[in-house]
């Protein structure tokens, strides 16, 4: 299974029917494809949509309707349009059941760095800082290691932070990790991955329960 699909599939199991969620760019946008039957969620877009419905079919693009990724979109029956103040009221006010975002680094305290690489191209934080501060549950969807093989799960983030002590769950191609007051708890491993593999590829300390089951991806 494709690494990105694996991560998206595992996270899709966290969603309950009727939840209001915001999905970041990249892996998170794949999640709706893998929701179990009977589970549908309301997708929030920072620019003021509750219930957007994916990319508009060719020829049906409406000129005044885009999502936060600049793609022409449509709205699900029962969705609504809100202005930016309410959009961020919903986000910051704890009305968002869950946000799923990518990471550059995440650490033992649940600190997250995901908006800029030092010396990298300046882009700005957009809505990410509000999302991680306000959402009821912050799930990080990321490959376990960066392209040069280094762990993205660190004792302490070194890149500029997006938020302090904000992350609840980290799902990677190797592991499902929960952030707790005592530290990072390894709750599940990916199929074919051992606890030792995860420990070897993780810079952060991991709390290892006696029994670490394999992820359920169905």
């Amino acid at each position: 299974m494709d690494v990105r699909e694996l991560i998206a599939r595992r996270i899709s199991r966290e969603f309950k029917d009727g939840m209001l969620v915001n999905l970041g760019v990249g892996i998170p946008t794949l999640i709706p494809n893998f929701l179990p039957p009977g589970v549908s969620v309301w997708l929030e877009s920072e620019n003021g949509i509750i219930g957007f419905n994916g990319i508009a079919p060719k020829g049906e693009e409406y000129p005044f309707f885009i999502d936060a990724s600049k793609a022409f979109t449509t709205i699900r029956p029962g969705g609504c349009i809100i202005d930016s103040t309410l959009s961020f009221g919903v986000i910051r006010g704890g009305h968002l059941d869950c946000t799923v975002l990518g990471a550059l680094q995440v650490d033992e305290e649940g600190n997250l760095a995901n908006w800029i690489v030092p010396g990298g191209r300046l882009a700005g934080m957009g809505g990410a800082m509000d999302l991680v501060t306000g959402a009821k549950k912050v799930i990080i969807a990321t490959e376990h290691c960066s392209k040069d093989g280094k762990s993205k799960i660190l004792k302490k983030c070194t890149f500029p932070l997006t938020g302090i002590k904000v992350v609840d769950i980290i799902v990677t191609d190797m592991a499902y990790i929960e952030v707790t007051d005592k530290g990072l708890v390894l709750k599940e491993v990916a199929p074919g991955v051992s606890v030792q593999d995860v420990v070897a590829k993780t810079e952060a300390s991991l709390i290892i329960p006696p029994n670490v089951p394999e992820m359920n991806l169905n």
Partner: protein, 220 residues
């Protein structure tokens, strides 16, 4: 998705004694008279209420005050409730007065996840003297800081709703509704017209997203 529809009795049974409740309404408009009557019938006690006014003896939350069910009230005006000042004097009810713009902005701050509000309104008045607002100097200006307001419940009236819980108000029924609906753990809406199928409401016209609304009561 399970239905949000409850009878007014079931809806009010969710409210425990001692609950805090945001009640929409400017006078009786926007206020869900059916839900208020049921709170009275079920004799919910020790309530903390947030409403722009204090109702009247036989109107709105005034009925709850006259019945002795209210422990604390935050409002901006109580001129039609002659019993209230007496209860305050007797120490039977705690009253906090907020300028109307401060009142609604504090509720919005609670619902929008903000740390409170900063307003020039009320500087040098009873609002500052009583400590309801605290003078701070920020950005080179004196302001009153007020904490955000959140409550356990919000009850309000809406003209239209769909099964998602999306709400549309008519005319001055709207008033405090959009702000209050963001600032409570449980939002209960009493709907004037038959609840509509999902997709029937124009997305641009919805005034409270249904995801913020927990319970719908069909107004009779």
């Amino acid at each position: 998705m399970s239905s949000k529809l409850k009878s007014v009795r079931e809806a009010v049974e969710m409210i425990p004694d001692g609950a805090s409740i945001l009640i929409n309404g400017f006078y009786q408009q926007g206020a869900p008279e059916d839900i208020i009557n049921e709170i009275l019938a079920q004799k919910k006690k020790d309530l903390t209420l947030y409403n722009n006014d204090a109702g009247e003896e036989f109107v709105g939350l005034g009925k709850l005050i006259y019945a002795g069910l209210v422990k604390k009230l935050v409002c901006s005006w109580c001129g039609l409730n002659p019993l209230l000042p007496k209860l305050v004097e007797q120490g039977k009810i705690e009253l906090e007065l907020n300028p109307q713009g401060t009142f609604v902005e504090r509720i919005r701050a609670g619902g929008y996840g903000l740390g409170g509000i900063l307003t020039p309104t009320g500087l040098g008045t009873i609002v500052e003297e009583k400590g309801w607002g605290k003078r701070v100097n920020l950005g080179g200006k004196d302001m009153l800081y007020h904490e955000p307001i959140r409550a356990d419940f919000c009850i309000l009236e809406a003209y239209e709703a769909d099964w998602v819980g999306n709400l549309i108000f008519r005319r001055t029924q709207r008033c405090f509704g959009p702000a209050m609906a963001t600032a409570a753990d449980v939002v209960i809406a009493s709907v004037n017209t038959p609840i509509q199928p999902i997709g029937a409401l124009e997305p641009d016209h919805i005034m409270v997203p249904g995801q913020l609304v927990d319970v719908l009561v069909q107004r009779r």
